[in-house]
């Protein structure tokens, strides 16, 4: 089997939507879910059968052409993304009965395009190809966030689009400079030639890459737009933004950092940028009352944490980063999906929603997710957090350690404020129960959180390999160039 299916099939599905739409109202929905399920199974099958990295050549072998590289770390992301998108789609199957999107076919196309582009970002080994997927992901996300066509949603879409456009200008600028000075677009060749460049040009390229990707990965001075987007968009789409899109950008960004710019100074800068990002986001979140915005801040904080983890450039910290990423994706998926149902039911997005909420099931899984985000032991978040703190301490960055711990403490303030609301003794609203399918989806995700927390050794081998592959620039270069 080939990794190209992860991209080609969703695209095909997208182009072929009018045909599927002929099968009635549910045809498109079920076929979309079927597609995602088969992609997920495919990824599992690839994972099981894969004994070494698979390089998928498109048209012409690298370094001249584009190749998709499926190694231990990208299969992790592929599995994660397909799984999350599948879960989200399954959830939507029921959500649409109450609150459907207008012109649903387009909605499913967007979700699939998002999936394809996220996977493309992760797999691609060509920087211009990455730019193309960057744009596909971007444009799908813009439309998704404006989909409801309310003033808020449109504002969010516009803001997202404008910042995205600026990001892509800087990214193209960086790619142009890279091509002009190195004559190649292949990541491996660039990484070989990059160190030999003039320092000024290196600076310019890294600055433009930082701005281009930084705007998308939501790092501190460049994340001014994020919260508005989350607030304006539907909670359901926020789930994808937070759990899938950002993660794909993040992986690409750090993949590029490892390949091009493994300077100690630069990564140290990123390290503190991440810590500051986390701290600021958590502090701002303290006073937030809009739930979507609140969890957007929380996402920003977690991205800061991930930034710290990946900037450490050690196998252990990357392992930690992957654990955190996994835990965060699962938890945010649970939270935003639940919020989507809750908003629809109680017609409010305020934090006091949780006082009114009357659904023990949702309460419990949201609490578990939030505790996992806080890094409570026996839940998924702890493993990563502990490994990260450990590797920070081993590097002697104790100030950073303090900053992160402080940020975590502040984070716990508003999480527990919310949990406190859930236990409030005020009068509850109507009893609210989800359909079986939705429960099953949320339960699956939550069980994932608990399982990883209790038995991290189930996946620890895999993740450790993934992280060592991710940081191993040399073997990536060999893989990509050796195929020639």
């Amino acid at each position: 089997m080939s990794s190209i299916y992860f991209i080609a099939l969703p695209l095909l599905f997208g182009f072929a939507t009018p045909i599927f739409a002929k099968f009635g109202k549910n045809g498109i929905a079920y076929s979309s879910v079927l597609l995602q399920a088969s992609l997920f199974l495919l990824s599992i099958q690839l994972f099981v059968t894969m004994d070494k990295s698979i390089i998928e050549v498109i048209a012409i072998a690298p370094p001249l052409g584009i190749a998709l590289i499926l190694d231990n770390v990208s299969i992790f992301f592929v599995m994660l993304f397909t799984f999350l998108v599948l879960m989200g789609s399954l959830y939507y199957l029921k959500l649409r009965e109450k609150n459907p999107y207008q012109n649903e076919a387009k909605f499913f196309i967007l979700i699939n395009m998002l999936l394809a582009s996220a996977i493309g970002l992760v797999l691609s080994s060509d920087i211009f190809n990455i730019y193309v997927f960057f744009e596909i992901a971007g444009i799908s996300a813009y439309i998704l966030s404006a989909y409801r066509k309310t003033p808020k949603a449109l504002e969010a879409g516009l803001k997202y689009l404008i910042t995205g456009a600026i990001a892509s200008i800087f990214l193209v600028f960086a790619i142009a400079l890279i091509y002009l000075h190195l004559g190649t677009l292949n990541l491996a060749l660039i990484s070989q030639g990059f160190t030999a460049l003039e320092s000024d040009i290196k600076l310019l390229i890294s600055l433009f890459l930082l701005i281009g990707f930084g705007l998308k990965v939501e790092i501190f001075p460049l994340n001014f737009w994020v919260t508005d987007i989350y607030e304006g968009s539907d909670a359901f789409t926020d789930a994808f933004f937070s759990a899938v899109v950002v993660k794909a950008y993040l992986f690409v960004f750090f993949h590029i950092v490892y390949l091009f710019l493994p300077h100690k100074e630069f990564t140290l800068f990123l390290l503190y940028l991440g810590a500051v990002s986390m701290l600021i986001a958590e502090i701002v979140a303290l006073r937030q009352t809009n739930l979507k915005r609140l969890f957007a801040y929380s996402s920003l904080g977690q991205v800061g944490l991930l930034f710290v983890a990946f900037s450490m450039q050690e196998a252990v910290s990357i392992t930690a980063g992957l654990y955190i990423l996994l835990a965060h994706s699962l938890a945010k998926m649970v939270i935003f999906l639940s919020l989507a149902s809750l908003f629809e039911k109680y017609k409010k997005e305020d934090i006091s929603l949780f006082k009114e909420m009357n659904s023990p099931f949702l309460r419990n899984i949201i609490i578990i997710s939030m505790l996992s985000l806080l890094g409570i032991p026996l839940l998924a978040g702890f493993v990563g957090k502990f490994l990260l703190l450990k590797s920070i301490a081993f590097s002697g960055l104790f100030v950073l350690l303090g900053l992160l711990v402080l940020a975590s403490l502040i984070e716990s303030v508003y999480y527990f404020k919310i949990i406190g609301f859930m236990f409030s003794k005020e009068e509850r609203g109507e009893k609210f129960s989800l359909s079986t399918l939705q429960r099953a989806v949320l339960l699956t995700l939550t069980l994932g959180i608990i399982l990883i927390g209790i038995a991290p050794f189930l996946i620890s081998d895999f993740i450790a390999t993934a992280s060592s592959v991710m940081i191993d620039v040399r073997s990536y270069q060999n893989l990509l160039l050796g195929a020639n």
Partner: protein
């Protein structure tokens, strides 16, 4: 001149900031003007003749970097239906519209097939000379635009466009997948492509086919965008 009155603070600060930024970038760029070096493009040029395509840019666009183009088509596709999503909610009405001149309508109708023909030509000969699917597609869309501008009764059959669009999109991916099966590479050139056929219309294997598909796709998407925007702007 009173600076404070004539130039707002915003303007001044924006000017300073952008000037400073651009000047810094400029100075770096001027100090490091790139020298010609052996690039991937040169290697591709060498490989180009194997594909039997006269226009190297076309080979690069459609074949060597065909995957990018597929993505690009996807972007266009998404943007097009995004615009459709945004702008079709209003019914298009032409109440206040001034009826256009008969001569204008007639001229436009006369020009329309010619432009379309030109577009098809550009599309079809993309692998041989200057031109290609994108250019051809846009030319076709411009013909549609002309019709829209000249006549307020012109309406693009949504059904036809949709069929074209769907057909183009599906066949693009399908060709890629067939390549995967036949020559074990997505978008692989599985049709005969011989250097001896260089310059013929039927040369270059899948390259012209894909470029035509791209042309259809771009043409229909652009026409749709034009239609959506125009219909929407009627009400403004």
């Amino acid at each position: 001149m009173n600076i404070k009155r004539d130039i707002s603070t915003t303007t001044l600060s924006s000017f300073t900031l952008s000037a400073f930024f651009v000047l810094t970038v400029l100075s770096i760029l001027l100090q490091n003007i790139p020298q010609k070096l052996f690039s991937a493009g040169d290697s591709l040029l060498k490989l180009n003749s194997d594909q039997g395509v006269a226009n190297a840019v076309t080979t690069v666009v459609v074949y060597f970097r065909g995957f990018d183009t597929l993505g690009e088509i996807a972007v266009l596709f998404i943007a097009s239906f995004g615009i459709g999503l945004m702008l079709t909610s209003q019914t298009h009405g032409d109440k206040n519209k001034v009826k256009s001149n008969f001569m204008l309508q007639l001229g436009a109708r006369l020009l329309f097939p010619i432009i379309i023909l030109f577009g098809v030509y550009v599309m079809t000969f993309g692998h041989l000379s200057v031109g290609g699917g994108f250019q051809g597609g846009v030319i076709i869309a411009s013909a549609v635009l002309l019709m829209f501008v000249s006549s307020n009764h012109f309406h693009l059959s949504h059904r036809v466009v949709e069929v074209l669009e769907t057909f183009a999109g599906i066949s693009y991916v399908m060709i890629g997948l067939i390549g995967l099966i036949v020559v074990d590479s997505f978008l692989g050139n599985f049709l005969p492509h011989n250097i001896s056929q260089l310059g013929l219309l039927l040369s270059g294997g899948i390259v012209p086919i894909i470029y035509i598909i791209i042309g259809i796709k771009v043409g229909s998407e652009m026409s749709l965008i034009v239609q959506n925007m125009l219909q929407r702007s009627d009400n403004d």
